[in-house]
């Protein structure tokens, strides 16, 4: 989806104008903002050209404002692969050398989690605008350090939380804040896969370098790689942050085939100040239920992944009783076909839902690299706009910051077998969606 299609979808949703007060970070998607950067290019350096880095490169190739001028990776095969897409880009094996390159205005960091915080701060210190993949940092302290440093420098900083730019999430959150599903009474997130989460390793000494996701020395596993995306949902929907977090994690399957030490099975519960719970569950040795994100309301449910709205009081399909009203208004009579056996939707779970917008793109969550039409391209496009204008969109960083902090806090709760709250020192100003 390009910017024009995104805007078109926004228009179809009836939220042009309305959306910006609720979602200020979408301002770069407006026609006015597009004119602001017309003909200009953002000169970008990519740090980390593995699978996710190349995913971004493929998106950048389709974006008018993008000019990739530098590539960096300390694993030469990945760097050479990426260079095929941008043959004129300068190649670096040390990211600090890329940061010294004055031609680079902004960087996209797609490296292992343990490097995110350090690289982001170094890049901001070097005067670059930064897009860093989620999660924002490896520890609670490091995330705060990144946040505070950005504030001091006034840098542009985006984190790879692409749902912020996915039209169906934007539409769904608008509907939730309009009260379409009543009071939010629960948030369910799950992400199931059945694969070993491994990348091919050409030589054994590269195991931890390439499969960094599997080792706690570099990664926080499923919480920072998957949950971080979904934990935004509760805060978006309810306009508040969780009060306490508990969880349980285990290695139950894939430790039989390798020496990984991150959990392959996790469940976490986040309780909000109003008592509502948000859950996250991930198992990577069964994929039957795939990926799910559901906002449960007192009047209905919105399934964010499929873009469907289910009401708890569904109407029977095609009742002809309304036709009778029209007949009487017009002074005519004919038969109305509506009688039949019991209406099937005896329970909410079997009632048909309604798409929340036309042409909903459904992402399965099966790919561990990225997916088409999941908001990633729009997010990078917005970053390019910010690189050129130097303007940091409102609220976008705080949403990402708290997604990271609560993913890390849940991971901590699992390892400490404790119910935890986010300490005050980690709390930064948070303006909830819809209260602007």
């Amino acid at each position: 989806m390009n910017r024009k299609e995104f805007l078109s979808d926004c228009g179809k949703m009836g939220m042009a104008g309305v959306a910006l007060s609720l979602f200020p970070w979408l301002e770069s998607c407006t026609e006015k903002a597009k004119q602001e950067v017309h003909g200009e290019k953002a000169r970008i350096g990519i740090i980390g050209t593995g699978s996710r880095g190349v995913f971004h490169i493929k998106n950048l190739l389709q974006l008018q404002q993008a000019e990739v001028v530098a590539l960096c990776d300390n694993y030469r095969p990945h760097l050479d692969d990426a260079a095929q897409y941008y043959p004129k880009a300068k190649l670096y094996e040390d990211y600090r050398q890329l940061l010294d390159d004055k031609n680079v205005q902004g960087v996209i960091i797609a490296t292992p989690l343990y490097l995110h915080g350090r690289m982001t701060i170094d890049a901001m210190n070097a005067g670059k605008s930064v897009f860093c993949e989620k999660s924002m940092a490896f520890t609670l302290d490091e995330a705060l350090e990144v946040y505070n440093r950005r504030k001091e420098l006034g840098s542009v900083l985006f984190i790879g939380q692409q749902r912020l730019f996915d039209p169906k999430y934007v539409k769904a959150m608008s509907m939730i804040h309009e009260g379409v599903i009543g009071d939010v009474v629960g948030v369910r997130n799950y992400w199931y896969r059945n694969n070993d989460w491994r990348r091919e390793v050409p030589s054994p000494e590269l195991e931890r370098h390439i499969n960094w996701r599997l080792y706690r020395e570099y990664s926080r596993g499923l919480m920072t790689e998957l949950a971080c995306h979904q934990l935004q949902n509760g805060s978006w929907a309810m306009g508040m942050l969780p009060e306490k977090v508990m969880g349980s994690g285990s290695l139950i399957h894939w430790n039989k085939v390798d020496k990984r030490d991150v959990y392959d099975c996790v469940t976490a519960i986040f309780t909000y100040p109003n008592g509502v719970n948000m859950t996250f569950e991930s198992i990577i040795s069964n994929k039957h239920f795939g990926m799910g994100e559901q906002i449960l309301g007192s009047k209905g449910t919105i399934d964010l992944v499929t873009g469907m709205h289910y009401t708890d009081e569904p109407m029977p399909k095609g009742s002809g009783m309304h036709q009778l009203v029209e007949q009487i208004e017009r002074g005519v009579m004919s038969n109305s076909v509506f009688a039949g056996t019991s209406w099937a939707a005896e329970t909410g779970s079997t009632a048909p839902g309604m798409p929340i917008m036309p042409n909903v793109k459904v992402v399965t969550g099966e790919s561990s690299v990225g997916a088409e039409a999941d908001g990633s391209k729009e997010l990078v496009d917005a970053f390019l706009h910010a690189v050129i204008t130097g303007k940091q969109p409102e609220k976008v960083l705080e949403e990402s910051y708290y997604a990271t902090q609560f993913a890390l806090l849940a991971d901590k709760a699992m390892h400490e077998n404790a119910i935890l709250t986010l300490e005050d020192k980690y709390r930064v100003p948070y303006v909830p969606l819809g209260s602007r």
Partner: protein, 292 residues
């Protein structure tokens, strides 16, 4: 509640209301009311049906029906007049349908089969189960019973003409369409959606349809065998009482074909038909003949 009032036709101002109760959508179309009277009537109907839903709902732990299910195995439970009357009617229908309508269908099977599962004492207004594992479910009775009460309330409010629809499977008429001699209700073809398989003309009468549900799922239990009834036909019953139509259509659908005529002999003034819909859109209608 969804409420609509239209006086575009000044001769016949029309009220439409719909609400959700008893796991289905209930709709009313009535002529001759002012907007205020129409709204008042619709609200009172909704309140009455929802109160009835609570009283008869076995899944609501606080309902009188649940109290009976929880305690009547070990003691005779006293119930209020309305619930006792409902249970008496259910017992009369059980006998009148040869056991093919039975509110004890949800009960666990016993060595003796599914014979009498509960005893009513008219003097004390009590109900007592005959064995362990009995559970009463008024779901198949409550819609028809509620539809009767709604018709009474609409008549008392002074409706000229009205049509009331309980989830498409039970429909009751008061008077007739303002531009005809009856209300014409089309029964939808089960294989060709939106197409009429049969027209039912109602004038101060009711109809009920039983069969697979609208998603094609078998859902009616045979009280004699305890298994799901796997008939592909629809059974349509027409007659004066919405409650009798509802009960009869369920019982006839559950009963073997040979038994259906026998049951119909008990219900003078009611007509029943079997409707077989075919893939190509054609239909076959067979009357269940009570003289056989």
């Amino acid at each position: 509640m969804q409420f609509q009032f239209s006086d575009k036709n000044p001769h016949h101002p029309v009220t439409y209301a719909s609400f959700f109760s008893m796991h289905t959508r209930i709709e009313l179309v009535a002529t001759g009311f002012t907007e205020e009277k129409g709204r008042e009537l619709a609200q009172s109907i909704e309140a009455e049906v929802k109160a009835m839903e609570h009283r008869f709902n076995r899944f609501d732990d606080t309902s009188p029906m649940s109290v009976v299910n929880m305690r009547a195995t070990n003691e005779a439970v006293t119930v209020d007049d309305e619930l006792f009357m409902a249970l008496e009617l259910c017992e009369a229908f059980r006998r009148g349908t040869g056991g093919y309508f039975d509110v004890a269908t949800a009960s666990a099977a016993t060595d003796e089969g599914y014979a009498v599962s509960y005893l009513l004492d008219p003097k004390k207004h009590t109900v007592k189960f005959t064995h362990q594992g009995v559970s009463l479910d008024l779901g198949g009775f409550a819609k028809g019973f509620a539809l009767e009460q709604v018709c009474r309330r609409v008549r008392e409010a002074g409706a000229e003409n009205a049509l009331i629809n309980f989830g498409n499977s039970s429909v009751a008429a008061i008077g007739h369409h303002p531009y005809g001699e009856c209300w014409s209700v089309g029964v939808e073809h089960t294989k060709v959606k939106g197409t009429m398989a049969r027209e039912i003309k109602l004038n101060n009468g009711a109809m009920s349809v039983s069969g697979r549900n609208s998603d094609g799922v078998y859902h009616i239990v045979n009280p004699i065998t305890g298994g799901l009834v796997a008939g592909d036909e629809l059974v349509i019953v027409e007659g004066r009482s919405a409650l009798v139509c509802e009960v009869l259509s369920t019982a006839l659908y559950a009963a073997p074909r040979a038994q259906r005529s026998v049951i119909m002999k008990q219900y003078e003034g009611y007509t029943a038909t079997e409707l077989y819909c075919r893939e190509g859109g054609s239909c076959e209608i067979r009357t269940i003949d009570c003289n056989k």
